[in-house]
């Protein structure tokens, strides 16, 4: 039983004079608890693919299955309702409602999904506590560092314990220290069994994944597991002379 399954998924942008194919025939299957990294050069269709998986973009043809239900035929509104419970989304930018406090941002999805205010507050407290952001609960997103913002964004995306967490370059504009914070959070979430599909070009982030899908020109050119060898030292990689 897979969380996500796509069959011959195609996306063609036809806004301009010439139709531009962005995704051409992707077959992808993601099992529960799996962490899939999607890599590829820019313009290879990675972002389009995850946006379609989350219903933020419509497919041109093909099928999308989420939790064994066909979802590509859903209306925009039905997708929205589905997202509340089953899909958490993290973008590179603008993950938080700018004029709401951190606490409000994290509570909002739970409230939307119909949780009682008390439940929403409790879940927010536990999530922010796990992120060591409890004391920033009343801050504006703009007052947080980039890494803190992205961690809050992850908390927001995970607030409803979604079936799958979709992330589009979540560390794209973070420096290495902030990236490290987000990495630690992602790896912890994954260890707790969260299914994750993530677009990234950051090898450190991709290396957290169990599986690497390489896109090239809108098609999957490689799909395989990332082996773990448990070597001892950095010396295996770098020769210190």
């Amino acid at each position: 039983m897979s969380v996500i399954k796509t069959v011959n998924l195609v996306k063609i942008y036809s806004d301009g004079a010439v139709p531009v194919p962005a995704v051409r025939g992707v077959d992808l299957q993601v099992e529960p608890g799996e962490f899939v990294a999607i890599m590829g050069p820019s313009g290879s269709g990675k972002s389009t693919l995850v946006h379609m998986l989350g219903g933020l973009d419509t497919r041109t043809s093909g099928e999308i299955w989420l939790d064994e239900k066909r979802v590509d035929t859903l209306s925009e509104s039905a997708w929205a309702l589905l997202r509340r419970k089953k899909v958490g989304f993290v973008f590179q930018f603008f993950n938080l409602v700018a004029n709401m406090t951190v606490a409000d941002n994290v509570e909002l999805p739970a409230l939307l999904a119909g949780a009682s205010p008390r439940d929403a507050r409790e879940r927010r407290q536990s999530l922010l506590g796990a992120l060591n952001l409890t004391e920033r609960a009343d801050a504006a997103p703009g007052q947080l560092s980039g890494g803190e913002q992205q961690r809050v964004a992850l908390a927001r995306a995970l607030a409803n314990q979604p079936s799958v967490l979709l992330a589009d370059e979540p560390t794209g504009n973070l420096d290495s220290r902030n990236t490290r914070d987000v990495l630690r959070l992602l790896s912890d979430v994954h260890k707790d069994g969260q299914t994750i599909v993530m677009v990234t070009h950051d090898a450190r982030v991709a290396a957290l994944a169990d599986r690497l899908v390489s896109l090239f020109d809108g098609a999957i050119v490689d799909d395989g597991r990332i082996a773990r060898r448990r070597t001892g030292t950095a010396g295996e990689v770098i020769d210190l002379r």
Partner: protein, 168 residues
Amino acid sequence: MRLHLLALLAKEPAHGYELKQALEQTFGSAYPSPNIGQIYVTLGRLEKDGLVRAVDVEQSNRPNKKVYYLTAKGRDVLTTWVDEPTEGPRVRDEFFMKLVLAPLTGIADRMALINRQRRHYLSLMSDLNDLLSRTAPADSVAVLLIEGAMLHLQADLDWLARCQEDLA
């Protein structure tokens, strides 16, 4: 390893086992632990070249141990090493040779080579991630070394992507 040992001796005279401990302490888990025999062999060569001087120290109920001192010549060599700029890593990449040559022979296809190599690099990266998570954040020498390795790997992966775009 010659110059590493010279540098340690410049701080204070030491015997072979102390040098091994000092190396391990400084680099921590990031660096492969040196073999004690190899250290003694290296010290012997340094002594022969006149860069270090060995003095026997008597020990009660134990064999004498040799304590090594840095000579003036040894200090000169060390100074020269520190002063001159260090060469960066050179591309002496075996994979690149495979990538260029293999398709000519028809043994392998470039895309497959690149993909396999990418996953290999990522698994190295994942090891480094594990290593990093096992290293105490206070051990800054080790952390820096690991992050250096990661950035080199990232560069290799980026280069791989360039190869894919232009060759495949």
